[in-house]
Each structure stands twice: as C-alpha cells, then as structure tokens.
C-alpha cells in the first residue's frame, strides 16, 4: 500500500482520481481503527496532513465560522470563535470520545465517515452548516441533508474531499446546546439532540433542533420546530414536537439500544435539552 503526502488540495484530489480504492487519512481515529479491524483495506493512503490551510477555525466578515476539515476535535471543542447558537458545534465536539481521541480526530474525517451515532452531524444540521467539497472538477457546497445519503454513506464521489465546514451566524442571544445519551462517558450516542434556541421573556422565539442516532442522517423537521416557536414551552407542546420527530425516525436495534428504546427516549431527551437550554439562558441573563 502506497502512502502519499500531497502538498495541495489539487494534488490530493488528483491522487484520489488516479488510485481506485484510495482513502484519505486525516487524524486516523476512525480509518486506522477500521483498518485494524480488517473492515477496510485501502489500496493507497493519502495523508492530508501537509496541505496548508486545511486546519484551523476562522470567523468570516458575515459572522459565519469556517472550520477547516483537518481541524482536530480538541481545537473545535476549545475554540472561542463560535458565537451565540453556533456554540452547539464546540458543545458537540467536547462530547466526542475522550481527550486523547479528540487530540487525533478531525471534523472532516468524522463527517466523511457519517456514523449516525457520531456527534458532529446533528450539531451541524441544527446550525444549518454548509460542507465545502473539492474534486478535480472544482468545488461544490452541500448542506448536511444533501451530504449524508444513507447509512454511513455520503454524497462524496471517490475523487472528492471535504475541505471545510461553514457554520452561518445565528441570531444574537441564541444559545447552542448538545444533549447526548450514551452508556458511558465517551461512547457513541444512543440518541443525541442538538438545539439552537432563543427565549425572549420565556417565549421561544427561535428554534432549530436536530436529532442524531435515530436514522442514517440527523433528523430535522421544521414543522416540529414551528410547534414550539412563538410559545411558552410546556410538556404538551414539547411532547407534540417529540412525537413528530419520532414519526420520521428510523432507528436501528444495535449493541447500544433497541430501536424501540431510541423512539421512547427521543422525546424525553428533547424535553431535557429544552429545559437545560432555558436554564442556561436564565443563568446568562441573571
């Protein structure tokens, strides 16, 4: 197996186009684990480590935050660049595995693997992020909903790589929160809820919710958000929104939990997340 260390994005996607069955390697946290388990056997590895500008987080003039694909989870988790509801992204990052794995794994690597139980995709869905992709034919941008096409499957062609992720500005005063139910600290999620919300005198004036772990891609349903927006939240409204999300869910039975359990937990986790975010907002106002 050959290993390449391209110096530019153009060179990297050129190598992907030339070598059928090649895989890009960024932090190795997922790919090397898969190789160790004998689940993938790349014909060649293309390390993105030496390409300048692929790592790092920056704030753009329009208030959006650009995260380079090679940015490690630890750097996303500790970044102060995110503002308002954008903070859902670092709050998800800090829940990935443990500090040692966060020193290795990258956002581009994580989302390209598209594990439905991993943490970023739900947060990026709630935040309305755009995924920037390069290939020998040029660049394109996809929303998360267009990026994940099936279980562990993305819209990436074999010669495409994710170069960055762009998180748009969120309303002033909005808060981002990530609620994760896992068997133990650091495990993948059984169910996760990413929320961006703003409350004005107890009225929910802005809401974005995405659910992880309950289907091939994060669930987001505008109709469920509309049930809660403009209202003082109560158990019956939250229950209604939760039921709408359950209705579009497609959870599997796996080693972590049954699909039935996930459907049961989803609305409760939503309620917990909404209570948590209201308390955070009260604490920030007080």
């Amino acid at each position: 197996m050959d290993l390449f260390l391209p110096q530019t994005i153009e060179e990297a996607v050129g190598l992907l186009a030339q070598h059928e069955g090649a895989r890009c390697i960024s932090g190795g946290a997922t790919l090397v684990a898969m190789m160790n388990a004998g689940l993938v056997e790349p014909s060649a590895l293309i390390s993105l480590r030496q390409i300048p500008g692929l790592a790092g987080i920056s704030r753009e003039p329009d208030g959006s935050v650009r995260i380079g694909a090679m940015t490690r989870h630890v750097d996303t988790a500790t970044s102060k660049v995110f503002k308002d509801g954008q903070c859902v992204v670092p709050r998800a990052a800090v829940r990935i595995a443990n500090r040692v794995v966060r020193n290795m794994g990258t956002m581009g690597g994580s989302i390209s693997f598209a594990d439905p139980a991993a943490d970023y995709l739900a947060a990026l869905t709630a935040a309305g992020a755009a995924i920037e992709i390069a290939s020998p034919r040029g660049k394109r941008t996809l929303p998360v909903s267009g990026f994940v096409t099936d279980w562990y499957t993305t819209a990436l062609a074999s010669d495409e790589i994710v170069t960055s992720i762009s998180v748009p500005a969120m309303p002033a005063g909005s808060i981002g929160h990530y609620e994760k139910l896992a068997r133990v600290s650091g495990d993948f999620a059984i169910v996760s809820i990413a929320i961006i919300a703003r409350f004005e005198s107890d009225i929910c004036s802005f809401l974005r919710v995405a659910v992880g772990g309950c289907g091939p891609a994060p669930l987001r349903l505008r109709e469920a958000e509309v049930v809660l927006e403009g209202s003082r939240l109560n158990a019956s409204l939250i229950g209604e929104a939760g039921r709408m999300l359950v209705a579009i869910s497609d959870p599997v039975d796996d080693v972590r939990a049954s699909g039935e359990y996930r459907r049961k937990v989803l609305p409760r986790l939503l309620a917990k997340a909404l209570i948590q975010i209201q308390q955070t907002q009260h604490a920030e106002v007080a």
Partner: protein
C-alpha cells in the same frame, strides 16, 4: 502489505531508524521493532487507552497512529518518563498509593496523567476522572489511580 521502508522515529529523545510499511501502526513498530513494550495492545481500536503515548507532548493512541506519519515528531512512551532510576513524582505517587494491580493499563494512563499534570499540576479528582475517562482499568475501580494522580505534586503545593 507494502514493502517496508526506513522510517526515522524520535523516541524518548533518541533518533531511531526502523523499517515500517505504510499500514503499520506506531504501536506495532514501538513494540515489535523497538521492543518498547510499555504501550500495550488492548483493543487496537482507540478505546481502551493502554497504548497511549505522547506525540509532540500530547497524548495520542499509538494504535491509531501510522508509524510513517509520526516520522521526526518527538514521541514519548512510558519508558521515557523516568530519568534513569529516578522516577517522576507521578510514577512515585502511583507506587505509594498502590495504584497498580495487573498493570496493563498503567503505561497508558501514566502518559495521560503526565500530560494532564504538565498543564494542571494540582488537578481536582473530577479533573483527573475526566482526563482519565479514556483509559480503561478493569482491576482497580480507579479509586487509587485518581488518588495517586491528585497527590502526585503534593510535595509542591501551589
């Protein structure tokens, strides 16, 4: 398997030339080529933490690192912590607190705790538990390990 090539690794302050193929992990090369058996092969999936080493002073899983990609970056294994027979305060504290049972996890957790103490010499037990949450110990229940890390720098209170 690709043909192995010569790789220059900087391990515990010494430059070592080893033969490694592209898919070989740093853990394999450390153990099988350099005979540094402090890093253990537990899960080989990045979960158990027994293989943890420092690269550029940061703890990483050697089982998830490809050896060729660690070329010329400073690597520290548990063998590189002590200076000759002089143990670090952390190592001594692990002994004093009786924090080793079978010892399989000890090499990895020492590396994580070493990095934690470099940033935060007097961590609270909650900070220690959070830092060590990626290191599985199946013997001890962690009580003595957490105590040992908390007390490592007791002699130099702030």
């Amino acid at each position: 398997m690709s043909r192995p090539r010569l790789v220059e690794l900087c391990v515990n302050g010494t430059q070592r030339a080893v033969r490694a193929s592209s898919e070989q992990t740093l853990l394999e090369v450390l153990r099988d080529e350099l005979h540094l058996t402090g890093p253990k092969r537990g899960c080989n999936q990045g979960v158990c933490g027994a293989c943890t080493v420092l690269i550029d002073d940061q703890p990483v899983r050697s089982c998830l690192s490809l050896a060729v990609l660690t070329e010329n970056r400073p690597i520290t294994t548990v063998e590189g912590l002590a200076r000759g027979k002089s143990l670090t305060a952390l190592q001594q504290s692990i002994i004093d607190c009786g924090a080793v049972q079978c010892g399989f996890c000890t090499g990895g957790l020492l590396m994580v705790a070493h990095a934690l103490l470099a940033d935060n010499p007097h961590p609270t037990s909650d900070e220690v538990r959070a830092a060590l949450s990626g290191n599985l110990c199946r013997c001890s229940g962690y009580v003595k390990i957490v105590e040992a890390v908390c007390r490592a720098n007791e002699g130099s209170l702030p």
